[in-house]
């Protein structure tokens, strides 16, 4: 075995048309290290990973494996060289079983004409059980997003790899699942496998990784040993400026928020949750925490009429409102921002203006049922300005925007109806640090203007840093409510999981702020 790094990138550049995605970057991965790659969205992380994974070809520069320059012509070639890539977005065959997905490479390489399902299931079980007890005969489409992510990781682990790339693997995982993944990553490291770990979550990086490399705007900024740096330092390098305060000021402790804007009493849907009581007061941001799958999104969607309720009532701004459809909710002044931005939040191939108008076309309709294009343009322009959407113009397709700006467009759509209450489901998931801070500030501003904000989040630092009060959901019930003074990660995890947190738990304890 040589001392050369297992993977080395030298002076690599890549352009897409006129956009220079990477210019002359470097990166070095030692044997058996977990190396974090940080940068805002658009910094070039994914582009680099796609080149290492054989999906894209560099314009110039070298990729060296074990000290020898190589050309990685295709994903299959990358696999042969021992590089396994787990994409941030799930790329599984939805209609195939977990086992068929996990063993895809083996099935592909198999020479015998018929499938050996016994072996496929046994192999898959072995790979899967290391991560989570997911039945390998289940169809992938029937699994939750977090389980699908785990299947994706299990699939990569079956490849006999020496470099494993994990692109935001915990974005959709619950705390417990994430902890299990970390344990596995540490095990891989001991076996001499090197891991490139891409994440926005500083706490994870600082508990798991050995070194961290930061990219900004397609350029290499620095590589540091993790002991020699701090989360604040990394964030500063990522954004290229000092973020003095990650979260905006909360309500002062003595300022009791005003009247009840929204109260939900005894809400049940007959399946996922029962007897939910919530109260949101004017001026505050109410957080909803809990594990993925606890029923948080279902509760929010039921309040907004997107799912039917079997019992309970909703009082909005002092008035009992009967909400039978989402259109009713919007009319009453209650809107919902979906957690699945691309799947149900925005219309990717339509213009920014068309996206912003979607919630209330009636307002923009003039004589003869025709759309008032000037009113539409004015509305989109002013909301885009208010939210600081970075765009070529309001008639650019939303697909041309970065994740953070897409989310701003989705929020602009909600604001277009001047709502009394906005329920936001994971509003900052998969968004870079800069945009995240902007969205947090915006939520606080809205709350100060008297708009009620309910935010569902799986990120504990976000719940604690931003919210004035947090309700924790466990298995379809409100397990507890915490006021500002009582907010800490352990208490939330305890309420969410119903058990005392594991003593070995160390990762999330480090707050970014």
């Amino acid at each position: 075995m040589s001392d050369a790094p297992v993977l080395q990138i030298r002076n690599l550049s890549k352009a897409f048309g006129s956009v220079q995605a990477l210019s002359g970057v470097q990166f070095e991965l030692r044997r058996g290290e977990v190396h974090a790659l940080c940068g805002e969205n658009g910094a070039g992380k994914s582009t680099l990973m796609n080149m290492i994974g054989g999906i894209l070809q560099p314009d110039e520069g070298d990729i060296l494996i074990d000290g020898k320059p190589v050309t990685i012509a295709s994903p299959a070639a990358a696999q042969k060289m021992g590089i396994a890539l787990v994409h941030q977005e799930i790329a599984l065959c939805q209609d195939a079983t977990v086992a068929e997905n996990i063993c895809m490479a083996a099935i592909n390489a198999r020479r015998a004409p018929l499938m050996n399902f016994q072996q496929v299931h046994a192999d898959a079980e072995k790979a899967m059980n290391r991560l989570a007890p997911i039945a390998v005969r289940t169809k992938v489409a029937d699994l939750s997003i977090s389980s699908q992510q785990l299947v994706e990781i299990a699939k990569a682990l079956t490849l006999d790899c020496k470099v494993l790339i994990l692109d935001e693997p915990t974005a959709a995982l619950t705390e417990t699942e994430a902890q299990r993944l970390f344990a596995i990553v540490r095990g891989l490291k001991q076996r001499g496998i090197s891991v490139i770990y891409i994440s926005h979550r500083m706490a994870e990086i600082f508990s798991l990784c050995d070194r961290v490399t930061v990219f900004r705007d397609g350029r290499y900024v620095a590589t540091e040993a993790i002991e020699a740096t701090s989360p604040n330092d990394v964030v500063r390098k990522m954004v290229g400026r000092e973020i003095t305060q990650l979260y905006p000021d909360k309500l002062p402790a003595n300022a009791r928020p005003g009247r009840a804007l929204l109260s939900v009493r005894g809400l049940s849907d007959g399946t996922r949750f029962a007897n939910v009581d919530l109260e949101l007061r004017a001026g505050e941001i109410l957080g909803i925490g809990g594990l993925i799958g606890a029923g948080r999104s279902e509760i929010a969607q039921t309040i907004c009429g997107l799912r039917p309720a079997t019992a309970g009532n909703v009082v909005l701004d002092g008035k009992d409102v009967a909400i039978r459809s989402y259109a009713d909710a919007v009319r009453a002044g209650l809107v919902y921002l979906s957690e699945d931005r691309k799947g149900s939040g925005v219309f990717l191939d339509l213009s920014i203006a068309a996206n912003v108008s979607a919630l209330d076309l009636g307002k923009l309709t003039g004589r003869f049922g025709l759309l008032d294009r000037h009113a539409e343009a004015d509305q989109a322009t002013s909301l885009a300005k208010q939210l600081g959407v970075r765009m070529a113009g309001i008639d650019a397709a939303v697909s041309t925007l970065s994740g953070g700006n897409q989310q701003k467009v989705a929020i602009a759509k909600q604001l277009s109806v001047a709502p009394k209450v906005i329920i936001m489901d994971e509003p900052t998931r998969g968004i870079d640090v800069g945009a995240k801070v902007e969205i947090h500030r915006l939520l606080r501003e809205l709350a100060n203007q008297g708009v009620g904000i309910i935010m569902i989040s799986s990120e504990l630092p976000e719940l604690i840093g931003l919210c004035d009060r947090v309700a924790v959901v466990r298995e379809g019930r409100i397990a507890g409510e915490l006021e500002t003074g009582q907010l800490d990660e352990e208490t939330i995890i305890m309420l969410a999981s119903g058990v005392q947190p594991n003593a070995a738990y160390e990762g999330q304890a480090q707050n970014v702020a």
């Binding site: 149900s344 219309f347 990717l348 191939d349 049922g369 759309l371 294009r373 343009a377 970075r390 759509k413």
Partner: protein
């Protein structure tokens, strides 16, 4: 960034897809190039007579293209259009022969076409089948109905009153009524699709049905009514065909769906929904028609026509795919 916002301010226009207009410009360029080339190749090409013939040949089908394009934008497809055109003809014709006046008979023919659309819409939105399978079944069933009603033989309608036949055969100051009707239908729906609120919902639904639902749009209603609209326009086309031919043949319109879908797709409609324009689809139809006419004038055997049309479709879609991939 401020400058960008100002630029957006200055334009104050919401164009749905600049890409679509690029596509339309490209199609016009190709059609013009073909026309210029043909004018050298054949002295008969650049004549009013030839153009009138070309326009006549795709005018009525063009009405069906309008419905199909809107249905493609919502994410659906209708394979039954040829059968429905024929059914509308046959029903109106049979009612006329049974003694009804041709206008009332035609209205009933259009109404039953709409009803077929409503039944398909029911299966798509309430039962939850997809458009492809539903309309495939409808295509076969409705064709069967045409054969049952006519007992397999063409209805001869030469007794139709001349003022009715004029719709299909007459002209106003030298311009056939058929072409006038076509232009009016296209203009109305192209305008509505770009400007009307109701049709904006068609784009929302086709672009991302879930996001549309999460914006309070009743997507099932949108899909239902667009399905009805497509069948209704097919029925409308059917009665014009009847007036033009003075006959109702139970096999008429077989294979029309492929031509119509091809035209819409060449014109920029996506089978995934969310994009397409009527103007583009009509240009797609015009391109196919110019090619057919050229092949005839160049004395190329009709047997080649389908093959060449297929190749054009493939080329158009490939070019689009290539351009899209380059962009992203």
């Amino acid at each position: 960034m401020l400058a960008e916002i100002k630029a957006a301010d200055a334009s104050r226009r919401v164009s749905f897809a600049r890409l679509a207009s690029m596509r339309e410009a490209g199609l016009i360029a190709i059609i013009l190039a073909l026309c210029i080339a043909m004018s050298f190749a054949s002295p008969h090409f650049l004549t009013w007579g030839n153009f009138r013939a070309m326009l006549m040949s795709f005018s009525i089908e063009g009405i069906v293209v309008v419905g199909m394009t809107i249905l493609l934008i919502v994410g659906g497809i209708d394979l039954s259009v040829g059968s429905v055109v024929c059914f509308s003809m046959v029903v109106s014709g049979a009612l006329f022969l049974a003694g009804l006046d041709p206008w009332t008979a035609s209205l009933i023919g259009i109404a039953v076409s709409a009803l077929i659309g409503a039944v398909m819409g029911f299966f798509v939105t309430v039962v939850g089948l997809n458009h492809f399978i539903t309309s495939l079944a409808a295509m076969v069933i409705v064709r069967g109905l045409c054969l049952v009603i006519t007992k397999g033989t063409p209805l001869s309608l030469f007794t139709l009153p001349p003022e009715f036949k004029a719709i299909g055969q007459g002209n106003f100051q030298g311009v056939p009524y058929v072409i006038i009707i076509f232009v009016v239908v296209v203009a109305i729906f192209d305008f509505l699709l770009r400007r009307a609120t109701a049709f904006r919902k068609v784009f929302y639904t086709g672009s991302n049905e879930k996001a549309a639902q999460f914006s309070g749009i009743k997507t099932n209603q949108v899909k239902f009514w667009v399905t009805v609209l497509c069948a209704t326009l097919s029925g409308f086309a059917g009665v014009i065909y009847m007036a033009r031919f003075g006959a109702a043949t139970p096999t008429f319109g077989a294979g029309m769906e492929l031509n119509v879908i091809a035209a819409a797709v060449i014109g920029g409609a996506s089978l995934k929904g969310g994009s397409g324009t009527i103007f583009g689809a009509i240009l797609g139809m015009a391109l196919l028609s110019v090619v057919t006419s050229s092949l005839i004038l160049l004395d190329i055997s009709v047997y080649w026509q389908d093959m060449i049309k297929g190749c054009i479709l493939l080329a158009a879609v490939s070019a689009d795919h290539f351009l899209h991939r380059k962009k992203s």
